[in-house]
């Protein structure tokens, strides 16, 4: 499987590097906000994986590598291993560059935006968000291909976000069940949203159980996604 990763590395390495450089150039600006940095970090990882898939799609190399002495399930596992490595590499870039900026540049704006990232909640949030996003995309990619897969994925994601926002409006408005969640200062407060949720869970479960919980959730997401992708790719006609 590492051979498959090496193949993708040789094909995509310069674009991966470009994505990393663009991300660092963004967070080096002192006006960044934690949630924006988190979203951009997740999108950067998505983009890094995307360029590999785009190269494969553009060059129509899928049939070439499927003709090599490999089982289809090995090809899918190789891709998941690659995504795992991109995720770790992306994490290293995001958290490494944030730590370096904090250490070298002392402006308070950096501390406010980057400090929440460099926490257990920040790291757990990064892995949960990226694994969820990539894990839900890959089965669609293997089932529908790059173009239709992306279209369905982003349509689904948009529908999901709209549904969440609609429910929040309904629950906090006419039904008076909760106080409004998505307020004007929501984006600026790193203690709320996903990180806040993880922080609450961490306090309730304790550090060991919450770590185990996050790990189990990640494992579940990856295993369900891998199973679906393998099934879809096995049926795919190349």
């Amino acid at each position: 499987m590492l051979k498959l990763c090496r193949k993708d590395y040789l094909a995509s390495r310069w674009l991966w590097l470009s994505v990393a450089v663009l991300f660092i150039l963004y967070i080096i600006q002192p006006m960044g906000q934690t949630i924006i940095i988190m979203v951009l970090g997740t999108l950067a990882v998505y983009a890094a994986m995307g360029v590999t898939l785009i190269y494969e799609d553009q060059n129509r190399t899928e049939a070439l590598y499927a003709s090599l002495p490999l089982k289809r399930r090995t090809i899918v596992r190789g891709r998941y291993l690659l995504v795992g490595l991109i995720l770790l590499g992306g994490g290293a870039v995001i958290f490494g560059s944030a730590a370096l900026i904090l250490a070298l540049l002392k402006a308070p704006a950096y501390g406010k935006a980057l400090s929440p990232l460099l926490s257990a909640e920040g790291i757990a949030g990064y892995f949960l968000a990226t694994v969820f996003l990539l894990g839900s995309f890959l089965p669609l990619y293997y089932r529908f291909g790059l173009g239709r897969g992306n279209l369905l994925y982003f349509s689904g994601l948009l529908a999901f976000l709209l549904a969440v926002a609609g429910l929040e409006r309904l629950a906090s408005g006419p039904l008076h069940l909760i106080s409004p969640l998505f307020t004007a200062d929501f984006l600026g407060d790193p203690a709320r949203g996903l990180l806040g949720l993880i922080g609450t869970a961490r306090e309730a479960l304790g550090p060991f159980l919450s770590f185990f919980f996050v790990l189990s959730l990640l494992g579940l997401l990856v295993s369900a996604s891998l199973r679906l992708s393998t099934r879809f790719y096995d049926r795919k006609e190349l």
Partner: protein, 292 residues
Amino acid sequence: MSEAVDNALEVRGLAKDYGDFRLKDMTFALPRGYIMGLIGPNGAGKTTVIKLLLNLLHRDEGNVRIFGLDNLASEVEVKSRIGFVHDAPVFYEHLTLRKLKDTVAPFYRSWDETAFHRLIREFDLPLGKRFSRLSRGMKMKFALAFALSHRADLLILDEPTSGLDPVFRRELLANLSAFIQDEGKSVLFSTHITSDLERIADFITFIHNGEVVFSSPRDEILEKWAVVKGGSELLAEKYRSLFRGIRRREFVVQALTADGADARRRLGKDTLIEKASLEDIMFFLTRGNGHA
């Protein structure tokens, strides 16, 4: 032939339904040490057959055995012994040939670096050049260098000579002939350029509309099949069973028969009977009206 143990490739009852096109009951066998040409007009199903052999498409029925092994159950072992060239060579266009080699070679345990470099020199390929900057002929040469560099026992080539100049086509055919000099090596070679096969193929499998029309030794085909030329008397009912395809142009009637000797006996010496080329056979079987 298909019962022999020493077949490089055995295809039995292979079927694939696309809805608008159906591959039906494909059966043929390629003995070890020989070259088989898979011929047929465009859209006959040649590429579908090749993709089914490589498990790029899923068959609906039938089975494929390569070196006696099922191509699905023993996929990795089978594919490690196959060298393939797809109809349009596809590699990462932005990578150099050297880098492309690095993306493919590690998947073959029997990769022969020396053989690869010898072929690269022989084909005059620049390893430092990007794949996108090669001509179609050079791309095909590169794909062939790959196929020949891991000591494959069976080469599966899908239209390797299509769009190539005659000089390179001859070079490629010479390479294939040299390949099977090593005992036990075999080649399945799909093409619609029949003259290539008349030079090197030992067996011909002709497919049309998703069906095998015949699969026989080349010499037997060229010996038996014939084109009969004459007047409208050839259209008589008593001769209909003799012909597999008929073309009528003004006062001249041309017909293809699968049994030239029988045609000679029945039509007499006055009728012109010539040996059919593979191109004649393909033409009459696909375009000849009055197919009997």
